[in-house]
């Protein structure tokens, strides 16, 4: 059964957004929530290039829940996972996991870049949040084992 749809804002720089554009975003989110509810599916907004302060505002102004993308935090927002979690935790319904070295959105194998996964994996485990591996399809077992090892060593 299909449960969730994940979508993006499409903006490249959340610090440059105008008041009119922000109003458009709120209206778009309202429309997406309405269509999703009619189809019994949960809509989730995913972070790409945005900063935490922008998402903090969306949390205050809408009821949308979120998919937190850890790879995008590392290469685009450059803010700590702790900061994202402190603002977003209650609204996170899903997590995207992939790795990079901070220079680009490489969607690399978990553990091959410079992301510290312990905080997000603890969050996922403690809150029973589903995750998606956004890595090479053929590396599914390797990445699943990376998570398995973390759980085992806890």
């Amino acid at each position: 059964m299909l449960k969730k749809i994940i979508f993006h804002t499409g903006i490249k720089n959340s610090t440059l957004i105008t008041e009119k554009e922000y109003k458009n975003l709120l209206e778009s989110i309202r429309i997406i929530i309405s269509i999703a509810e009619k189809n019994s599916i949960i809509p989730l907004l995913e972070n790409t290039y945005e900063k935490t302060d922008f998402f903090e505002k969306i949390i205050k102004d809408t009821e949308i829940s979120f998919c937190l993308d850890i790879g995008h935090i590392n290469c685009f927002s450059k803010e700590s996972i702790d900061k994202w979690l402190s603002i977003m935790a209650k609204r996170i319904e899903h997590v995207h996991l992939h790795d990079n070295d901070g220079s680009g959105d490489q969607h690399a194998q978990l553990g091959s870049g410079n992301i510290q996964f312990d905080k997000i994996l603890n969050f996922v485990i403690n809150n029973n949040i589903d995750i998606t591996l956004e890595t090479d399809f053929n590396d599914y077992e390797i990445n699943k084992n990376f998570i398995g090892k973390f759980i085992k060593n806890k």
Binding site: M1, F7, I17, E21, Y22, S28, S40, I125, F137
Partner: protein, 104 residues
């Protein structure tokens, strides 16, 4: 226990003969959704999805913008996301052999 999904793009699903027995987050391009929305490739899509557990849909990313003051782009983006949500009917119907067209 939480679920672990694997992201898979629809184009990769179409291009490869892969045996998939893991939960999938299915990623679409806007072009895929336009094609499906016109009713094309529905049979092929359903046959491809017949043995796959798709729990999540990932709406297209490139060229969509739900914020812009360009109303044409914003409305197109919302239409694509709405159509992606509609694909739920294809995915949920496949297990029961229900016609998507009859549902629509």
């Amino acid at each position: 226990m939480f679920n672990i999904y694997q992201k898979l793009r629809l184009k990769n699903l179409f291009e490869n003969q892969i045996n998939i027995n893991i939960p999938i987050e299915l990623g679409f391009e806007a072009q895929d959704i336009e094609t499906i929305d016109r009713g094309l490739d529905l049979y092929y899509l359903k046959s491809k999805l017949s043995d796959i557990e798709v729990g999540i849909i990932h709406s297209p990313f490139d060229n969509l913008n739900i914020v812009t003051e360009n109303s044409r782009i914003r409305e197109y983006s919302l239409k694509i996301i709405a159509s992606a949500i509609e694909i739920k009917k294809i995915i949920d119907a496949k297990k029961n052999n229900i016609s998507y067209r009859n549902q629509k």
